[in-house]
């Protein structure tokens, strides 16, 4: 509904129920996985997995500092965005992405109703139509393998897909810059 495609994502909402910042990568502290050691007895896949998560880009310090500034200063915080900019910075939505959302919702319903086989084509369609949506992929992968590894049901798996885009691109870089003049003009 809000354009969330990965976790953790945070949305700031003010006292009037107005969104102040659209979904963006939100971590309250530096994640422990960024400093994870590679076990001496790690398999090649385990080693690749740890190396990938250590290279994820997640800037918790910047995010938390901005959040604290907004809590202290409210609408005068430099991080509080005007409504037009909130909309402009939210995720673009194409016809394919909207159709992917419908397939995913139907797949979720069928899976929860006990018909996990019938859910698979809908999850596969959601993955094909919106490949940048990690929540769609991870949810379906976790149903066939809690470790989200390679499987014979879906085309991808967490490690392969992350390596394909580069771990540094898994989480979009935070954009904590104030609105540009272009954004303020609604361009």
């Amino acid at each position: 509904m809000l354009g969330i495609v990965n976790v953790p994502s945070g949305v700031w909402i003010d006292e009037r129920g107005v969104i102040i910042r659209p979904p963006e990568t939100a971590s309250p502290r530096r994640p422990a996985f960024l400093d994870r050691e590679i076990p001496l007895d790690a398999t090649p896949r385990q080693r690749a997995l740890v190396e990938a998560v250590r290279n994820l880009r997640i800037d918790a310090e910047t995010y938390l500092a901005a959040l604290r500034d907004w809590v202290a200063h409210g609408s005068t915080s430099v991080y509080a965005l005007p409504p037009d900019v909130v909309i402009e910075r939210s995720r673009p939505r194409s016809r394919d992405e909207a159709l992917a959302a419908a397939h995913f919702e139907l797949g979720q319903h069928l899976h929860r109703s006990g018909d996990s086989v019938a859910a698979i084509p809908h999850f596969r369609a959601a993955h094909r139509l919106d490949p940048a949506n990690w929540t769609y992929k991870r949810q379906a992968w976790s149903f066939v393998d809690p470790g989200q590894g390679a499987n014979d049901v879906y085309d991808g798996d967490w490690l392969s897909d992350v390596l394909a885009i580069g771990p540094e691109n898994y989480y979009p870089a935070l954009d904590m810059e104030p609105p540009s003049a272009h954004e303020k003009r609604g361009g």
Partner: protein, 113 residues
């Protein structure tokens, strides 16, 4: 939004999509899309609404269900006004984000995969 028929009560449609029937048409925040007069009643014609809001309408023949995707109007957010999101809490009881009005809210999406 899952459906078992191609008509939907307007109040249910609003709770699930954030789009409310008003005299101007279907509205979310300050954005309104006109509706034909015969559609703007208490029971909405899903196919007309889907066409007006550019919502994909998906049919799953084996289950007999329909699923209406979100509107395609450029961005995921068409307004900065938060829709009245209601989700089950840890005990399964409905929790409305609207109940937090008057306080700053950080809404965090997370998963336990």
């Amino acid at each position: 939004m899952l459906l078992d028929a191609l008509t939907v009560p307007a109040d249910l449609f609003e709770r699930r999509t954030g789009w409310a029937v008003r005299p101007e048409g279907l509205c979310k925040g300050a954005l309104c899309v006109p509706l034909p007069d015969h559609v703007a009643g208490e029971l909405l014609d899903v196919q007309v609404v889907a066409e007006r809001l550019s919502m994909p309408l998906l049919h799953d023949a084996p289950s007999g269900l329909w699923c209406l995707g979100p509107e395609v109007l450029g961005r995921a957010l068409t307004t900065a006004e938060l829709p009245n999101i209601e989700l089950p809490d840890l005990r399964g009881r409905p929790f409305s984000l609207r109940s937090l009005r008057g306080r700053k809210v950080l809404l965090v999406a997370w998963a336990s995969w």
